[in-house]
Protein backbone atom coordinates (compact mmCIF):
# COMPACT_ATOMS: atom_id res chain seq x y z
CA UNK A 1 0.00 0.00 0.00
CA UNK A 2 1.23 3.47 -0.83
CA UNK A 3 0.90 6.55 1.38
CA UNK A 4 -1.75 8.08 -0.88
CA UNK A 5 -3.94 4.98 -0.56
CA UNK A 6 -3.33 4.90 3.19
CA UNK A 7 -4.49 8.50 3.55
CA UNK A 8 -7.79 7.64 1.88
CA UNK A 9 -8.41 4.98 4.52
CA UNK A 10 -7.65 7.17 7.53
CA UNK A 11 -11.09 8.70 8.00
CA UNK A 12 -12.88 5.34 7.69
CA UNK A 13 -10.50 3.73 10.15
CA UNK A 14 -11.14 6.48 12.70
CA UNK A 15 -14.88 5.94 12.13
CA UNK A 16 -14.53 2.13 12.37
CA UNK A 17 -15.92 1.81 8.85
CA UNK A 18 -13.07 -0.11 7.24
CA UNK A 19 -13.44 -3.67 6.05
CA UNK A 20 -11.12 -6.13 7.85
CA UNK A 21 -9.02 -6.70 4.74
CA UNK A 22 -8.44 -2.97 4.25
CA UNK A 23 -7.82 -2.46 7.96
CA UNK A 24 -5.14 -5.14 7.90
CA UNK A 25 -3.44 -3.57 4.89
CA UNK A 26 -3.48 -0.14 6.52
CA UNK A 27 -2.08 -1.48 9.78
CA UNK A 28 0.79 -3.10 7.89
CA UNK A 29 1.57 0.17 6.11
CA UNK A 30 1.43 2.18 9.33
CA UNK A 31 3.96 -0.03 11.05
CA UNK A 32 6.45 0.82 8.34
CA UNK A 33 5.57 4.50 7.64
CA UNK A 34 6.13 7.15 10.33
CA UNK A 35 4.72 9.95 8.16
CA UNK A 36 1.41 8.14 7.77
CA UNK A 37 1.27 7.42 11.51
CA UNK A 38 1.64 11.15 12.09
CA UNK A 39 -1.00 11.87 9.46
CA UNK A 40 -3.38 9.40 11.08
CA UNK A 41 -2.89 11.09 14.46
CA UNK A 42 -3.71 14.47 12.91
CA UNK A 43 -6.77 13.04 11.21
CA UNK A 44 -7.97 11.51 14.46
CA UNK A 45 -7.51 14.80 16.32
CA UNK A 46 -9.34 16.74 13.63
CA UNK A 47 -12.27 14.35 13.52
CA UNK A 48 -12.54 14.38 17.30
CA UNK A 49 -12.72 18.17 17.21
CA UNK A 50 -15.41 17.99 14.52
CA UNK A 51 -17.35 15.46 16.59
CA UNK A 52 -17.35 17.90 19.50
CA UNK A 53 -19.30 20.45 17.48
CA UNK A 54 -22.74 20.80 19.03
CA UNK A 55 -25.24 18.53 17.32
CA UNK A 56 -28.28 20.31 18.69
CA UNK A 57 -29.49 23.84 18.96
CA UNK A 58 -32.03 25.27 21.36
CA UNK A 59 -35.37 25.82 19.67
CA UNK A 60 -36.93 29.29 19.44
CA UNK A 61 -40.11 29.46 21.52
CA UNK A 62 -42.63 29.69 18.66
CA UNK A 63 -41.02 27.32 16.19
CA UNK A 64 -42.97 24.30 17.43
CA UNK A 65 -46.25 26.22 17.39
CA UNK A 66 -45.74 27.52 13.87
CA UNK A 67 -44.71 24.08 12.61
CA UNK A 68 -47.80 22.52 14.19
CA UNK A 69 -49.92 25.16 12.49
CA UNK A 70 -48.46 24.25 9.12
CA UNK A 71 -48.94 20.56 9.83
CA UNK A 72 -52.63 21.18 10.52
CA UNK A 73 -52.90 23.10 7.25
CA UNK A 74 -51.44 20.09 5.48
CA UNK A 75 -53.92 17.81 7.26
CA UNK A 76 -56.81 20.04 6.14
CA UNK A 77 -55.52 19.94 2.56
CA UNK A 78 -55.43 16.15 2.71
CA UNK A 79 -59.02 16.05 3.93
CA UNK A 80 -60.22 18.29 1.12
CA UNK A 81 -58.39 16.17 -1.44
CA UNK A 82 -60.19 13.07 -0.19
CA UNK A 83 -63.71 14.53 -0.66
CA UNK A 84 -65.50 12.97 -3.68
CA UNK A 85 -65.52 15.38 -6.61
CA UNK A 86 -68.71 16.09 -8.64
CA UNK A 87 -69.22 13.65 -11.54
CA UNK A 88 -68.56 16.28 -14.20
CA UNK A 89 -65.14 17.00 -12.74
CA UNK A 90 -64.10 13.51 -13.71
CA UNK A 91 -64.48 14.50 -17.39
CA UNK A 92 -61.41 15.97 -18.90
CA UNK A 93 -61.42 19.33 -20.69
CA UNK A 94 -60.60 17.81 -24.13
CA UNK A 95 -63.54 15.41 -23.81
CA UNK A 96 -65.90 18.26 -22.97
CA UNK A 97 -64.55 20.29 -25.89
CA UNK A 98 -64.99 17.43 -28.36
CA UNK A 99 -68.54 16.85 -27.15
CA UNK A 100 -69.42 20.54 -27.51
CA UNK A 101 -67.97 20.70 -31.04
CA UNK A 102 -69.85 17.55 -32.03
CA UNK A 103 -73.17 18.95 -30.81
CA UNK A 104 -72.53 22.25 -32.61
CA UNK A 105 -71.60 20.50 -35.86
CA UNK A 106 -74.70 18.32 -35.66
CA UNK A 107 -76.94 21.36 -35.11
CA UNK A 108 -75.42 23.25 -38.05
CA UNK A 109 -75.60 20.18 -40.28
CA UNK A 110 -79.29 19.59 -39.56
CA UNK A 111 -80.09 23.23 -40.24
CA UNK A 112 -78.28 23.16 -43.59
CA UNK A 113 -79.98 19.95 -44.58
CA UNK A 114 -83.34 21.71 -44.12
CA UNK A 115 -82.25 24.67 -46.26
CA UNK A 116 -81.05 22.50 -49.14
CA UNK A 117 -84.16 20.35 -49.10
CA UNK A 118 -86.43 23.40 -49.26
CA UNK A 119 -84.51 24.97 -52.16
CA UNK A 120 -84.38 21.81 -54.21
CA UNK A 121 -88.15 21.82 -54.76
CA UNK A 122 -87.96 24.60 -57.43
CA UNK A 123 -84.64 23.79 -58.96
CA UNK A 124 -85.62 21.15 -61.61
CA UNK A 125 -88.17 23.32 -63.47
CA UNK A 126 -85.88 26.34 -63.66
CA UNK A 127 -82.96 24.31 -64.79
CA UNK A 128 -85.05 22.55 -67.43
CA UNK A 129 -86.11 25.92 -68.92
CA UNK A 130 -82.53 27.03 -69.23
CA UNK A 131 -81.52 23.75 -70.82
CA UNK A 132 -84.06 24.31 -73.67
CA UNK A 133 -82.24 27.49 -74.77
CA UNK A 134 -78.64 26.45 -74.46
CA UNK A 135 -77.62 23.01 -75.55
CA UNK A 136 -74.10 23.56 -74.27
CA UNK A 137 -75.38 23.80 -70.74
CA UNK A 138 -77.21 20.50 -70.85
CA UNK A 139 -74.50 18.69 -69.11
CA UNK A 140 -74.46 21.12 -66.20
CA UNK A 141 -78.24 21.15 -65.97
CA UNK A 142 -78.19 17.41 -65.84
CA UNK A 143 -75.68 17.65 -63.09
CA UNK A 144 -77.84 20.07 -61.14
CA UNK A 145 -80.85 17.90 -61.62
CA UNK A 146 -78.85 14.94 -60.51
CA UNK A 147 -77.77 16.80 -57.40
CA UNK A 148 -81.39 17.67 -56.74
CA UNK A 149 -82.44 14.08 -57.07
CA UNK A 150 -79.60 13.00 -54.93
CA UNK A 151 -80.76 15.46 -52.32
CA UNK A 152 -84.30 14.10 -52.58
CA UNK A 153 -83.20 10.52 -52.49
CA UNK A 154 -80.72 11.02 -49.70
CA UNK A 155 -82.73 9.35 -46.94
CA UNK A 156 -83.28 6.25 -49.10
CA UNK A 157 -79.66 6.11 -50.27
CA UNK A 158 -78.45 6.34 -46.77
CA UNK A 159 -80.35 3.21 -45.95
CA UNK A 160 -79.77 1.18 -49.19
CA UNK A 161 -77.05 2.04 -51.72
CA UNK A 162 -77.99 1.85 -55.46
CA UNK A 163 -76.99 -1.27 -57.41
CA UNK A 164 -75.82 0.77 -60.45
CA UNK A 165 -75.16 4.47 -60.93
CA UNK A 166 -77.97 6.53 -62.51
CA UNK A 167 -77.38 7.97 -65.98
CA UNK A 168 -76.85 11.46 -64.64
CA UNK A 169 -74.15 10.30 -62.28
CA UNK A 170 -72.53 8.10 -64.92
CA UNK A 171 -72.21 11.13 -67.24
CA UNK A 172 -70.65 13.21 -64.48
CA UNK A 173 -68.04 11.19 -62.60
CA UNK A 174 -67.28 14.07 -60.26
CA UNK A 175 -70.65 13.49 -58.65
CA UNK A 176 -69.40 10.17 -57.36
CA UNK A 177 -67.68 12.27 -54.74
CA UNK A 178 -71.08 13.18 -53.40
CA UNK A 179 -70.45 11.53 -50.06
CA UNK A 180 -72.66 12.85 -47.25
CA UNK A 181 -69.71 13.79 -45.06
CA UNK A 182 -68.04 15.79 -47.83
CA UNK A 183 -71.29 17.52 -48.69
CA UNK A 184 -71.82 18.60 -45.13
CA UNK A 185 -68.25 19.82 -44.85
CA UNK A 186 -68.76 21.95 -47.90
CA UNK A 187 -71.86 23.39 -46.34
CA UNK A 188 -70.01 24.21 -43.21
CA UNK A 189 -67.21 25.83 -45.15
CA UNK A 190 -69.53 27.95 -47.34
CA UNK A 191 -72.29 28.32 -44.86
CA UNK A 192 -72.97 32.02 -45.49
CA UNK A 193 -72.82 31.72 -49.27
CA UNK A 194 -75.23 28.81 -49.33
CA UNK A 195 -77.66 30.49 -47.01
CA UNK A 196 -77.85 33.73 -49.00
CA UNK A 197 -77.61 32.37 -52.56
CA UNK A 198 -80.78 31.50 -54.49
CA UNK A 199 -81.13 29.59 -57.72
CA UNK A 200 -81.75 32.84 -59.62
CA UNK A 201 -78.36 34.07 -58.59
CA UNK A 202 -76.65 30.92 -59.81
CA UNK A 203 -73.90 31.73 -62.38
CA UNK A 204 -75.04 31.66 -65.95
CA UNK A 205 -73.28 28.89 -67.87
CA UNK A 206 -73.18 31.07 -70.96
CA UNK A 207 -71.01 33.55 -69.11
CA UNK A 208 -68.25 31.01 -69.04
CA UNK A 209 -68.59 30.45 -72.80
CA UNK A 210 -68.45 34.18 -73.52
CA UNK A 211 -65.34 34.52 -71.48
CA UNK A 212 -63.73 31.63 -73.30
CA UNK A 213 -64.65 33.05 -76.74
CA UNK A 214 -63.38 36.53 -75.84
CA UNK A 215 -60.21 35.04 -74.44
Amino acid sequence: MRCRQAQRLMTPTVDNELEPRQQHALDQHLTACAACRQELAATRTLLEVVARLPAEMSLPPRLEEVTLHRMRDAARAERSERRPAPWWRSLSLPALTVAAVAVLALAVGLRQFDVVSTRSVDIPGRLAAKSGHQAASQHQVASEAARTRVARQEPRRASEPPKYPPAELASAPDLFMDLPILRHMEKLEHFDAIRTTTVDEAPDPSAGQQERSSG
Binding site: L53, P54, E56, L63, A74
Partner: protein, 224 residues
Amino acid sequence: MAPAGVHGKVSHMRTEPGDPALAAPVPAEATARAAADPDVALMLRLQAGDESAFQDLFRKYAPRVLQLARRFVGSQAQAEELTQDVFVQIFRFRHRYKPQSRLVTWVFTIATNLCLNELRRPERQLRVDLWDRRDGEDRPEDPPLPDPAAVTAEEGAATRELAQQLEAAVAALPPKQRAALLLSRVDGLAYRDVGEAIGCSEGAVKALLFRATQALKRSLRDYV
Protein backbone atom coordinates in the same frame (compact mmCIF):
# COMPACT_ATOMS: atom_id res chain seq x y z
CA MET B 1 -39.77 27.30 1.23
CA ALA B 2 -42.23 28.10 3.92
CA PRO B 3 -44.52 30.98 3.07
CA ALA B 4 -44.94 31.95 6.70
CA GLY B 5 -42.13 32.98 8.94
CA VAL B 6 -41.61 31.68 12.43
CA HIS B 7 -43.24 34.72 13.90
CA GLY B 8 -46.34 34.55 11.73
CA LYS B 9 -49.86 34.52 13.09
CA VAL B 10 -50.82 31.16 14.53
CA SER B 11 -54.30 29.79 14.98
CA HIS B 12 -55.04 27.53 17.88
CA MET B 13 -57.31 25.15 16.01
CA ARG B 14 -56.38 21.58 16.83
CA THR B 15 -56.93 18.39 14.92
CA GLU B 16 -58.80 15.70 16.78
CA PRO B 17 -56.96 12.58 17.86
CA GLY B 18 -57.69 9.88 15.33
CA ASP B 19 -58.32 12.45 12.63
CA PRO B 20 -59.23 10.60 9.41
CA ALA B 21 -56.84 12.84 7.50
CA LEU B 22 -54.04 11.48 9.62
CA ALA B 23 -55.15 7.90 10.05
CA ALA B 24 -53.92 4.89 8.08
CA PRO B 25 -54.03 1.12 8.65
CA VAL B 26 -51.07 -0.23 10.60
CA PRO B 27 -49.68 -3.62 9.51
CA ALA B 28 -49.19 -6.27 12.19
CA GLU B 29 -45.46 -6.71 11.47
CA ALA B 30 -44.91 -3.00 12.02
CA THR B 31 -46.52 -3.27 15.42
CA ALA B 32 -43.94 -5.90 16.39
CA ARG B 33 -41.09 -3.60 15.31
CA ALA B 34 -42.61 -0.74 17.23
CA ALA B 35 -42.30 -2.72 20.42
CA ALA B 36 -38.52 -2.92 19.93
CA ASP B 37 -37.84 0.60 18.59
CA PRO B 38 -39.43 3.67 20.22
CA ASP B 39 -38.85 5.69 17.02
CA VAL B 40 -40.90 3.20 15.02
CA ALA B 41 -43.63 3.38 17.64
CA LEU B 42 -43.59 7.16 17.28
CA MET B 43 -44.03 6.99 13.52
CA LEU B 44 -46.76 4.38 13.78
CA ARG B 45 -48.62 6.66 16.17
CA LEU B 46 -48.27 9.49 13.66
CA GLN B 47 -49.43 7.27 10.81
CA ALA B 48 -52.41 6.26 12.93
CA GLY B 49 -53.46 9.89 13.29
CA ASP B 50 -52.03 10.84 16.67
CA GLU B 51 -51.06 14.50 16.56
CA SER B 52 -49.17 14.27 19.84
CA ALA B 53 -46.78 11.88 18.08
CA PHE B 54 -45.92 14.71 15.70
CA GLN B 55 -45.14 16.96 18.64
CA ASP B 56 -42.97 14.25 20.24
CA LEU B 57 -41.16 13.74 16.96
CA PHE B 58 -40.61 17.47 16.62
CA ARG B 59 -39.26 17.85 20.15
CA LYS B 60 -36.92 14.91 19.67
CA TYR B 61 -35.42 15.78 16.27
CA ALA B 62 -36.02 19.48 15.66
CA PRO B 63 -32.97 20.67 17.68
CA ARG B 64 -30.69 18.47 15.54
CA VAL B 65 -32.43 19.40 12.29
CA LEU B 66 -32.22 23.09 13.16
CA GLN B 67 -28.51 22.83 13.89
CA LEU B 68 -27.87 20.94 10.66
CA ALA B 69 -29.90 23.47 8.66
CA ARG B 70 -28.09 26.40 10.24
CA ARG B 71 -24.75 24.90 9.27
CA PHE B 72 -26.01 24.63 5.71
CA VAL B 73 -27.68 27.98 5.16
CA GLY B 74 -25.89 30.10 7.76
CA SER B 75 -28.92 32.23 8.54
CA GLN B 76 -30.90 31.46 11.69
CA ALA B 77 -34.21 32.60 10.17
CA GLN B 78 -33.72 30.47 7.08
CA ALA B 79 -32.68 27.51 9.20
CA GLU B 80 -35.93 27.82 11.17
CA GLU B 81 -37.97 27.91 7.99
CA LEU B 82 -36.12 24.88 6.69
CA THR B 83 -36.82 23.07 9.95
CA GLN B 84 -40.52 23.78 9.52
CA ASP B 85 -40.35 22.48 5.98
CA VAL B 86 -38.62 19.30 7.11
CA PHE B 87 -41.34 18.46 9.63
CA VAL B 88 -44.17 19.36 7.26
CA GLN B 89 -42.58 17.00 4.74
CA ILE B 90 -42.29 14.33 7.41
CA PHE B 91 -46.01 14.72 8.05
CA ARG B 92 -46.99 14.72 4.37
CA PHE B 93 -44.93 11.66 3.55
CA ARG B 94 -45.45 9.83 6.85
CA HIS B 95 -47.07 6.87 5.09
CA ARG B 96 -43.93 6.34 3.01
CA TYR B 97 -41.89 5.62 6.10
CA LYS B 98 -41.10 1.91 6.39
CA PRO B 99 -40.38 0.56 9.87
CA GLN B 100 -37.49 -1.45 8.39
CA SER B 101 -35.36 1.71 8.12
CA ARG B 102 -34.14 3.85 11.01
CA LEU B 103 -36.25 6.90 11.65
CA VAL B 104 -33.22 9.10 12.29
CA THR B 105 -31.89 8.24 8.82
CA TRP B 106 -35.25 9.01 7.24
CA VAL B 107 -35.49 12.35 9.05
CA PHE B 108 -31.96 13.35 8.08
CA THR B 109 -32.55 12.25 4.50
CA ILE B 110 -35.44 14.70 4.24
CA ALA B 111 -33.48 17.41 6.06
CA THR B 112 -30.37 17.00 3.91
CA ASN B 113 -32.34 17.01 0.68
CA LEU B 114 -34.14 20.21 1.62
CA CYS B 115 -30.89 21.86 2.70
CA LEU B 116 -29.11 20.87 -0.52
CA ASN B 117 -32.09 22.06 -2.58
CA GLU B 118 -32.00 25.36 -0.74
CA LEU B 119 -28.33 25.81 -1.58
CA ARG B 120 -29.05 25.09 -5.26
CA ARG B 121 -31.55 27.92 -5.61
CA PRO B 122 -30.17 30.69 -7.86
CA GLU B 123 -31.27 33.51 -5.57
CA ARG B 124 -29.49 31.68 -2.78
CA GLN B 125 -26.24 31.76 -4.76
CA LEU B 126 -26.54 35.50 -5.12
CA ARG B 127 -27.28 35.88 -1.45
CA VAL B 128 -24.30 33.75 -0.45
CA ASP B 129 -22.05 35.85 -2.65
CA LEU B 130 -23.34 39.08 -1.18
CA TRP B 131 -23.05 37.80 2.36
CA ASP B 132 -19.73 36.15 1.83
CA ARG B 133 -17.71 36.75 4.90
CA ARG B 134 -14.39 38.56 4.70
CA ASP B 135 -11.29 37.44 6.54
CA GLY B 136 -11.39 38.22 10.24
CA GLU B 137 -15.03 39.27 10.14
CA ASP B 138 -17.42 37.38 12.37
CA ARG B 139 -20.84 36.47 11.09
CA PRO B 140 -23.31 38.21 13.40
CA GLU B 141 -25.79 35.32 13.33
CA ASP B 142 -23.29 32.75 14.56
CA PRO B 143 -23.94 32.22 18.26
CA PRO B 144 -20.89 31.62 20.46
CA LEU B 145 -20.21 27.93 20.75
CA PRO B 146 -20.06 26.29 24.18
CA ASP B 147 -16.70 25.06 25.38
CA PRO B 148 -17.49 22.39 28.00
CA ALA B 149 -13.94 21.03 27.96
CA ALA B 150 -12.38 24.36 28.90
CA VAL B 151 -10.76 24.48 32.33
CA THR B 152 -9.08 27.89 32.39
CA ALA B 153 -9.95 31.17 30.73
CA GLU B 154 -7.05 30.79 28.28
CA GLU B 155 -8.15 27.30 27.35
CA GLY B 156 -11.69 28.52 26.96
CA ALA B 157 -10.61 31.28 24.60
CA ALA B 158 -8.47 28.91 22.57
CA THR B 159 -11.30 26.36 22.33
CA ARG B 160 -13.75 29.03 21.25
CA GLU B 161 -11.37 30.27 18.61
CA LEU B 162 -10.81 26.77 17.32
CA ALA B 163 -14.54 26.12 17.28
CA GLN B 164 -15.16 29.32 15.33
CA GLN B 165 -12.43 28.50 12.84
CA LEU B 166 -13.80 24.99 12.50
CA GLU B 167 -17.36 26.24 11.91
CA ALA B 168 -16.03 28.60 9.25
CA ALA B 169 -14.01 25.81 7.61
CA VAL B 170 -17.03 23.48 7.64
CA ALA B 171 -19.22 26.22 6.16
CA ALA B 172 -16.69 26.66 3.34
CA LEU B 173 -16.89 22.99 2.32
CA PRO B 174 -18.86 22.04 -0.80
CA PRO B 175 -22.43 21.07 0.19
CA LYS B 176 -22.12 17.31 -0.24
CA GLN B 177 -18.82 17.12 1.60
CA ARG B 178 -20.34 19.19 4.37
CA ALA B 179 -23.38 16.94 4.53
CA ALA B 180 -21.26 13.79 4.67
CA LEU B 181 -19.02 15.19 7.38
CA LEU B 182 -21.80 16.57 9.57
CA LEU B 183 -24.03 13.51 9.28
CA SER B 184 -21.23 11.07 10.03
CA ARG B 185 -19.20 12.93 12.65
CA VAL B 186 -21.72 15.24 14.32
CA ASP B 187 -24.97 13.29 14.00
CA GLY B 188 -23.32 9.91 14.26
CA LEU B 189 -24.82 8.23 11.22
CA ALA B 190 -23.11 5.18 9.75
CA TYR B 191 -21.64 5.55 6.27
CA ARG B 192 -24.46 3.45 4.84
CA ASP B 193 -27.04 5.81 6.36
CA VAL B 194 -25.09 8.86 5.22
CA GLY B 195 -25.12 7.45 1.70
CA GLU B 196 -28.87 6.93 1.92
CA ALA B 197 -29.38 10.48 3.17
CA ILE B 198 -27.40 12.18 0.42
CA GLY B 199 -28.18 9.66 -2.29
CA CYS B 200 -24.84 8.01 -2.98
CA SER B 201 -22.89 4.82 -2.27
CA GLU B 202 -20.72 4.07 0.74
CA GLY B 203 -17.65 4.37 -1.48
CA ALA B 204 -18.75 7.83 -2.55
CA VAL B 205 -19.26 8.77 1.11
CA LYS B 206 -15.69 7.71 1.88
CA ALA B 207 -14.43 9.82 -1.00
CA LEU B 208 -16.45 12.83 0.15
CA LEU B 209 -15.15 12.44 3.70
CA PHE B 210 -11.56 12.12 2.50
CA ARG B 211 -11.81 15.35 0.54
CA ALA B 212 -13.60 17.11 3.41
CA THR B 213 -10.94 15.99 5.90
CA GLN B 214 -8.12 17.14 3.64
CA ALA B 215 -9.77 20.54 3.21
CA LEU B 216 -10.26 20.94 6.95
CA LYS B 217 -6.65 19.99 7.60
CA ARG B 218 -5.52 22.71 5.23
CA SER B 219 -7.85 25.28 6.81
CA LEU B 220 -6.93 24.39 10.40
CA ARG B 221 -3.24 23.58 10.01
CA ASP B 222 -2.38 26.19 12.67
CA TYR B 223 -4.66 24.56 15.21
CA VAL B 224 -4.55 20.80 14.58
